[in-house]
Symmetry: C2
Subunit: 361 residues, 2 copies
């Protein structure tokens, strides 16, 4: 089973650690002597309970989650959290939303169904993508929470600081979780779709301050009650078992790479290789403001949509996959999630230089 040489720069679902995939393949028909695939196991079986508990313990360790917070393994993606957060936390009151990207904008609009939304910042629509500074945040009194998206996958921006607010922080960390240490105690709710840095699509990780649970609106769907899911340890109903298993395998790999600290050290190094080329280029222009750049999603453009398209197309022909920018903004995007190997980044860097030499006139 030889793997062809391709590097996958998809923004998500995205590259997973090869070690995790190899182990999943090897254990596919017979997990740990059970005679069963993990995909066939009752979620109430001792075999699966051990997989579940172990994935949770590894995540707790990797992110140093304090005992005040509970880890939940849910379904529905970050999009389900866009509703679940206001359904559970708004209590008919209001909340502050920082709109710094496509998904934060959807979350903000969704919250309007459930209470009064105050836009604390809106950075969409400018020439260059950016993140508001602390002093630029327009915070409202009595907000039930402050919502932001830590890394804007489409725009290639990241909050390189944790905002200070009176209200509990609610953060969508889908595209940067496990890529740098985070002081979980500062957050009311952290959530993340698994399909970027953790596992295949179909699992949503939620880390919630238990003190915030139990305030859901009466019309909250039962699978969307944080309280119920905390009480049932995410097994109110059948959880996405295979994705939880894969998360465990990814976390084993993460541990072998020095954990979250190891990821943080390497992620900036990887991104800097590309940003250096962009900053010294006469062809490529960065899409995001320098201090707000994401190390996970490197966005740039040539200024010519046809040339951007040619860049992605020719890249694909040499095994550098999924470099086309999101349809909402165009341009070029290289996603450098945890499992993106340095060799992939170097191959892309070499290609970028070649492409510039060929196309910059």
């Amino acid at each position: 089973m030889k793997r062809e040489e391709v590097f996958n720069f998809s923004a998500g679902p995205s590259v997973l650690p090869r070690q995790a995939l190899e182990r999943a393949a090897a254990e596919m028909l017979n997990y740990n002597g059970s005679g069963m695939s993990v995909m066939e196991m009752s979620h109430r079986s001792a075999f699966f309970q051990e997989i579940f508990d172990s994935a949770k313990a590894k995540l707790k360790k990797a992110l140093a989650v304090p005992d005040s917070h509970e880890i939940l393994f849910l379904q529905g993606g970050a999009s389900a959290q866009f509703s679940m957060v206001p359904l559970n936390l708004m209590e008919g009151g209001g909340a502050d939303y920082a709109v710094t990207g496509h998904f934060a904008n959807i979350a903000m609009k969704e919250a309007k169904k459930y209470g009064a939304v105050h836009v604390a910042a809106d950075t969409l629509g400018g020439e260059q993508a950016y993140i508001p500074r602390q002093e630029e945040l327009d915070l409202s009194d009595g907000a039930k929470y402050f919502y932001y998206c830590a890394n804007n996958t489409i725009y290639g921006t990241a909050w390189n600081y944790v905002p200070r607010t009176a209200a509990p922080l609610v953060c969508d960390m889908s595209s940067e979780i496990l890529s740098r240490p985070v002081d979980v105690a500062k957050f009311g709710v952290i959530f993340a779709g698994a399909q970027k840095n953790m596992a295949p699509a179909g699992l949503t990780v939620v880390i919630i301050d238990k003190a915030l649970a139990g305030r859901e609106a009466p019309y909250t769907p039962l699978v969307m009650s944080y309280k119920t899911m905390i009480e049932k340890d995410s097994m109110y109903n059948t959880p996405p078992c295979w994705c939880i298993y894969m998360l465990g395998l990814t976390l084993d790999w993460l541990e072998s790479q020095g954990g979250v600290a190891g990821m943080e050290a390497i992620k900036h190094e990887k991104a800097a290789i590309l940003y250096d080329i962009i900053d010294n280029s006469r062809l490529y222009k960065p899409s995001a403001r320098r201090e707000d750049r994401s190390d996970m999603n490197v966005t740039f453009r040539t200024g010519d949509a046809d040339l951007d398209a040619a860049f992605a197309k020719e890249a694909q022909a040499r095994g550098l996959m999924n470099l086309k920018g999101h349809r909402a903004v165009g341009g070029i995007r290289a996603s450098l999630y945890n499992a993106q190997p340095m060799e992939g980044v170097q191959a892309l860097a070499a290609y970028m230089k070649e492409f510039e030499a060929k196309h910059h006139v």
Copy 2:
């Protein structure tokens, strides 16, 4: 990678076709020459779109889904549908619920959050589990829909007829879908968690009459709008890609076994082997009324809880796994989903006879 000889009678997640698992293992690191695992693929990529379209087309063919109906691949399990159905179909009115099992009961209670629920039948709490006859259904005027669960996994009962109602039929087919032909045109909504007859846990298949979409309550979470999911062909957000891929592999296997008609022929044969033993036994008593018995979940008991436990425990020692009845009702349960091989049923039958000879005094 030798698979040990075990037979898995779990009620779900449950046994999958070995052919599907083997192919998944073989393609794990490099799907169809892509150089990527299916778990790593962008859901917007041509590779995944083909997997998605093909799984949908195979399901449409297997169940002969008419063009009036749309197939959706969602998340959240049947439990999410317990809310999604009333959120989308109740329109502030009422609905009829037939409560014939644990999950229908949960669905009925959940619907009360969203409108007036009328219990059309309640068969819980009796000596033997049973399904109401058509003439026993207490139907209300103006109900927006009639809800029932086709196969009650815990009780081992099945609706061996399709009820006639003025209101559209909404049916939870989680534990019998693809085990017998169904006239989809008769139904407003069919839904099924995948983890019994289709794929690993994490995928919910919904088949909906498109004419019923677009009536959701204003506070419906965005991932719970049938209309949105129909318009976006289930890709409003990232779908559970791996489970959809596995569904495709299961459907390939199903096709090779004669499709749904082939499954129907074999399922009754498999269940009859066990029911014959039970009916001729002085030790085992059937848990369900004869004409309402499920071919998917065969439930019985000895009348002695300790002996039931011993039955399941000794079975496990010889590789017959997960025979313990659900904690809500006790007893013994053997789930004979599509992928349960005849050899498994025969091994269980032999064990049942041996156990009776040993324990019936």
